[in-house]
């Protein structure tokens, strides 16, 4: 067993590392798109309710669980869940806490490479949408498809077809170099520099967008104020009063899903990061600070930049598409129209690259921690083994690039569905098995801010019920489970992707089994009896 324990260097460092993990492309691209499509300003009502009832309570629970595990010498999800549950069988839940971030990393590192590629293209001027404004949208889509290989499987592997291969290699290597340096010297040192740079870049673009005025006098309605209105005006569907959107379960589903995915709860990352805290370090104020930093990037920056900018230049018809459509197809057209657009395009995509890399780093650390303490191998061996696994997965997704099917399949089944599952299990484990009274005392130990006692009721009853209801509603939505199940049965690449997911899960399950036997033999992560209150 490791005799020396890794720890965060500073409190600010751990806050920025957790916030960096949470802030990603979803803050700048997914959130504004979801808000604009689901009632505009009215969307913020279910959004903030979900923040208060689900995201922040679970966030505090994860911070407390991680620090508790860390105080017992455990840093990995299997070991922490074993200690929390009081029985070694709970360690197997931790398979999800390792598998989810690894699988997400496999495609996220490629999206990171897209961002780097776009930043480089703006810096060097190699993105060219031509001189005909009528062709901007088509040429932007063509550029994206050629760059990502979305038109044919194996497209990016053809000689001279795309620079994505080189960029993916650079981002992949950079992640592993930083992770090899360790929690304090690698992750913390990087995040403490990257987060302020991200904020500065975002503010620069924000100021540019808010000072655009009415760039085209022929289209006076397409101005800054109306752009903000398109994002923030509360609107009902098809001319109905705005409050009718609050009666639509889809809006609640979208709002809860957005806040949930944005905060990085259910990824297995926060419990790993907080396990490197000392026993009496504060988790309440730190957790709330990380959450509010994430919200700042999402609401105050993402909500004020993306949709207004797209509306000003493209009008209401141009503000369409999901995360990728808005970010990589629509926004390049916006930068083409924007004065000094090449500079602001570079700043924007470089900021997205930083947002992505602070997130992808956090996806590697849970597995590194597990390999070190589960198999008792050093950091070099852990990094090598994890590098091999993630390289194979990333190469698979990079090769099967047609229509981004492999990426979408892994994103849906792991990056969307399984994090709901893990978050629900975590909440039940924390509030019902570990015990909510004990959990409250654990969270409050060393706290710089008092958690209201109503949190005990919320985390025990409201959060799990809310999660289960949203999960069921989400599953029965034809756009989700049925649609993706159909793809899975019809598309061979989707099937191969599912085989990859199952293969990685089984492999990690075997490793957790081996680790569990080793821990039992050495008495590591000795289980504690569950709280009596939980069984009463």
């Amino acid at each position: 067993m490791p005799k020396v324990k890794e720890q965060w260097g500073t409190r600010l460092g751990v806050i920025l590392a957790v916030a960096g993990s949470a802030v990603g492309l979803g803050n700048f691209l997914r959130f504004p798109g979801q808000a604009a499509q689901n009632g505009g300003g009215a969307f913020m009502i279910p959004y903030f309710i979900a923040l208060i009832l689900v995201a922040i309570p679970i966030c505090w629970a994860e911070w407390a669980m991680g620090r508790f595990g860390g105080s017992k010498g455990c840093n990995s999800a299997p070991a922490i869940f074993g200690v929390l549950g009081g029985k070694s069988r709970y360690r197997y839940i931790g398979v999800l806490g390792i598998m989810i971030p690894i699988m997400i990393y496999m495609y996220y590192v490629l999206i990171e490479a897209w961002c780097l590629g776009y930043a480089w293209a703006y810096l060097t001027g190699s993105i060219d949408l031509g001189g005909d404004p009528g062709q901007y949208a088509q040429r932007s889509t063509d550029f994206f498809n050629a760059f990502t290989g979305a038109t044919a499987d194996g497209g990016v592997f053809e000689s001279g077809a795309s620079s994505l291969l080189l960029l993916a290699a650079i981002t992949f290597t950079l992640n592993f170099v930083l992770i090899y340096r360790g929690v304090s010297k690698g992750i913390e040192a990087f995040c403490i520099r990257a987060m302020p740079i991200m904020a500065i870049c975002a503010v620069v673009v924000l100021v540019r967008v808010l000072t655009l005025g009415t760039p085209n006098p022929d289209l006076p309605d397409q101005n800054v104020v109306n752009g903000l209105g398109f994002m923030w005006n509360p609107q009902g569907a098809d001319g109905a009063p705005w409050y009718t959107v609050l009666l639509d379960s889809k809006v609640w589903l979208a709002a809860t899903g957005q806040i949930f995915f944005s905060m990085s709860v259910g990824f297995g990352i926060i419990i790993n990061y907080s396990s490197y805290l000392k026993r009496d370090d504060d988790v309440v104020l730190s957790g709330l600070t990380a959450a509010s930093t994430n919200e700042f990037f999402e609401v105050c920056l993402g909500g004020m930049i993306t949709i207004p900018a797209a509306f000003i230049f493209l009008g209401a018809a141009g503000v369409v598409g999901g995360t990728f459509g808005l970010g990589f197809n629509a926004l390049p057209v916006v930068f083409e129209y924007m004065p000094a657009g090449r500079l602001f395009g570079f700043v924007w995509f470089f900021m997205l690259f930083l947002a992505a890399i602070t997130s992808s780093l956090s996806m590697l650390q849970p597995a590194i921690a597990f390999l070190e303490e589960g198999l008792d191998i050093g950091r070099r061996a852990s990094v090598t083994l994890l590098g091999l696994i993630t390289f194979m997965g990333a190469a698979f997704i990079l090769y099967f690039s047609k229509g981004l099917t492999a990426l979408d399949t892994v994103d849906f089944w792991v990056g969307t569905m399984l994090i709901f599952v893990l978050a629900t299990i975590e909440v039940i484990l924390f509030s019902w098995v570990f015990g909510v009274e004990r959990g409250y005392k654990e969270a409050m130990r060393g706290a710089d801010l008092k958690i209201p006692k109503v949190w005990k009721f919320v985390i025990k009853y409201i959060s799990p019920t809310y999660l289960l209801v949203i999960f069921v509603l989400w599953c029965i939505d034809p756009e989700n489970l049925r649609k993706h199940w159909g793809t899975l049965t019809q598309n061979p690449v989707a099937k191969y992707s599912m085989i990859l997911i199952i293969g990685v899960t089984v492999f990690i399950g075997l490793l957790v089994h081996i680790a569990s036997r080793r821990w039992d033999k050495h008495g590591f992560g000795e289980s504690e009896p569950p709280d009596m209150e939980a069984s009463s």
Partner: protein
């Protein structure tokens, strides 16, 4: 932009900025916020192979 839109935007952005400022004020005004909280020797990389 409608009045309701202005109100929602100002309340949303104001609430988040207010929470952020409050949290960072509390974190940075605490004695152990920015200083090194752990001895440098604690910050081991776990690499026991060297």
């Amino acid at each position: 932009m409608t009045t309701a839109g202005w109100i929602i935007m100002i309340v949303s952005v104001g609430s988040v900025v207010g929470m952020l400022v409050f949290c960072f004020y509390r974190v940075l005004s605490a004695p152990s916020s920015t200083e090194q909280t752990h001895a440098p020797l604690d910050n081991d990389t776990h690499d026991r192979e060297t």
